[in-house]
Symmetry: C2
Subunit: 389 residues, 2 copies
């Protein structure tokens, strides 16, 4: 059974350092999980993921249920064996994927009917079924089924989704047969502080081994995301891990750590890598930019990742320019290594008691390249909400 | 300077074992060069190519001239450094690529004008320029500029292309300044035995350090390719390496080794890998076939490649089914490893004096999956030639 041990809490922020114990090794927190929705971290072998210092990955029940099918993986001896990964795995339940990917979904108290985003075939998931599937996959940490409302749904709808999520969490726990997997509940409540509080308090009273914060980072401005994280964390137990789902970017991770989150996952680092956007300590840089065409230095001069140790920015620029598949790998390695280096710095700073100054220094240096776009999106979002309310 | 040492010739075929000496290490022959046209073997890092036992790769002057441009690579300290490859490199001159890729080419005795297949921009290559470019790239073996006629061009046109190729070979040698690169001449002559003989004899009289057989495997039936190899090899010197350009498949390599060829390159093993066609000792198999969807064994049971040692056929099937980029890597590794294992077996058999029986056994077991397609193509080709003559 996975368990969590809190090692240190920052005296001047909510940041914490801890350790998860799993059947597949210990995992120091705060931790970032690379996303392997379909049983592979895009472009990388398990050896490479491990060499990046990552020891837990995320996979998606929704994707694996549709392809190759749960029975194929069960027959292969479980997901660890199927994908050749010896580290820890967390599987998401499919609630968010049904919400974000599947067309024509119909949610009822019983569960959710939806069509596959791949071939339009009809499917059904319920709290009992997602537990059965996740027990067959055999991840170390599994998630309860949740209903994720859209960020601009009415307060009523958000409230009903949270209440359903609570009932589903209880049914998931009841359905659980395996005792060697940690089942985390997911807090919902949209962007309404009172609903976040209620959801966190209710689920906390049920004493799950871990809590996820769901339904955020799905279109609302960053300030709102972070404020909702605060509203949720305040009502979660100190001694349980807190998993902020779908976050994120280097700057968002640092902000969320400061607010007491321990676990993160996001496809962002690997997805933007495949678009040529590489993390540097000064922010994201696009390798396709002509300034890199003759740069003989690596993208990040003092980076010790495989990519930067072996290849110039000019070579990477060339590979992207030609659409060579190696480009996507090398960029993925760099971005995941960057996140790994960031998590190491965060952990050290928490243990040293220097996290607040580390955070300030990092955020001052790390300039988001799309600040203007972000502010414009935020303005539109606020306008829309004010009109609607 | 690259040199060649013949170690053993098979007493009952033309097969030979030898060794090339290059500035970047010794290369045992017969040898297959993986193709890295744009300065990368598709999907793989240099470390992976090396781990596959490959110690020479091919790159294309045409591709690198267009992207990133010769000056970028020269500034980076040459192609070895640019692409992070410590083994040997052979660069093709661009003659074949201008013929096969570039639209609107105009060939004159001086050289060739063409448009880029990427952006339509106008370019010029001459014997002197391809040498200058290849000297800047710094490969261990470089190729003379040749004119490659289509396989169904008229005998007159084929003859003129061969004569021009001879003159260009002489101009290439004259233009050569670096003495640490071996310049190979390219035999042309289409599918006309007399022209092949003339081309081989003429170029042999000029005493190049190596000879390539060009203009084959470009649409003519396999029997014709092999027959032309015989017609050419018969007039090439024993003590010089023979490079059959653009071949090929496992069965074609074995046949060409039996006819005295030493060096091979082809994008086929890596290209078909990305389409899910994997080499087995019984022939090519397509991993997308439903029979693999639940196969827990690797694709080739006793294969010691990274892919087969670590992953089931079912996992590979799943990755291809989902379009995961890792699929293309794992399939590429398997196919190149297969070719590497094949070359090792070929070398051992030649040294043991058992090559003819190895060849018969291999070809009896290795059934081409597209035999019917091949025979139909051959019939059409022969009909067309008979009508035309």
């Amino acid at each position: 059974m996975s368990s969590f041990r809190l090692i240190k809490t920052c005296p001047r922020s909510q940041a914490r350092a801890g350790e998860l114990t799993t059947r597949h090794g210990a995992v120091a927190t705060p931790v970032f999980l690379p996303v392997g929705s379909q049983g592979a971290v895009k472009t990388l072998t398990p050896e490479e993921v491990k060499a990046l210092g990552m020891n837990m990955v995320l996979a998606n029940t929704y994707h694996l249920y549709l392809r190759p099918g749960i029975s194929v993986i069960k027959k292969a001896g479980g997901l660890h064996k199927f994908m050749g990964w010896e580290g820890a795995i967390l599987t998401d339940s499919g609630g968010y994927q049904v919400f974000s990917l599947a067309p024509l979904r119909r949610v009822s108290d019983e569960g959710v009917n939806f069509r596959s985003h791949i071939d339009g075939s009809q499917h059904h998931l319920s709290p009992e079924l997602v537990i059965r599937h996740q027990e067959a996959l055999g991840a170390d940490i599994i998630m309860a089924l949740d209903e994720c409302p859209a960020h601009d749904d009415s307060p009523d709808k958000v409230k009903r989704a949270a209440e359903r999520t609570h009932k589903w969490a209880e049914r998931c726990r009841k359905a659980q047969k395996r005792r060697d997997q940690a089942l985390y509940a997911i807090v919902q409540g949209g962007v309404i502080p009172e609903l976040r509080r209620q959801s966190a308090e209710y689920l906390a009273s049920l004493d799950f081994p871990g809590y996820a914060i769901g339904g955020l980072s799905i279109g609302e401005p960053k300030e709102v995301t972070l404020s909702m994280v605060e509203e949720t964390v305040a009502f979660l137990p100190e001694d349980k891990p807190r998993y902020l789902m779908g976050v994120g970017s280097p700057e968002d991770i640092v902000e969320a750590v400061a607010r007491g989150c321990d676990i993160f996952d996001s496809a962002l680092p690997t997805r933007v890598a495949r678009n040529g956007a590489l993390f540097t300590w000064q922010g994201r840089r696009n390798i396709s930019n002509a300034v890199y065409s003759r740069m003989e230095q690596p993208v990040v001069a003092d980076c010790d990742c495989y990519t930067c140790r072996n290849f110039s920015a000019a070579y990477l620029h060339h590979l992207f320019n030609c659409g060579e598949l190696l480009a996507y790998r090398l960029a993925t390695i760099h971005n995941l290594s960057f996140i790994g280096q960031l998590m190491t710095k965060i952990k050290s700073a928490i243990l040293d008691g220097t996290f607040p100054s580390f955070k300030d220094k990092f955020l001052a240096g790390y300039r988001s390249t799309d600040e203007r776009v972000r502010l414009s999106q935020k303005r539109k979002w606020l306008e829309k909400r004010n009109l609607g309310s």
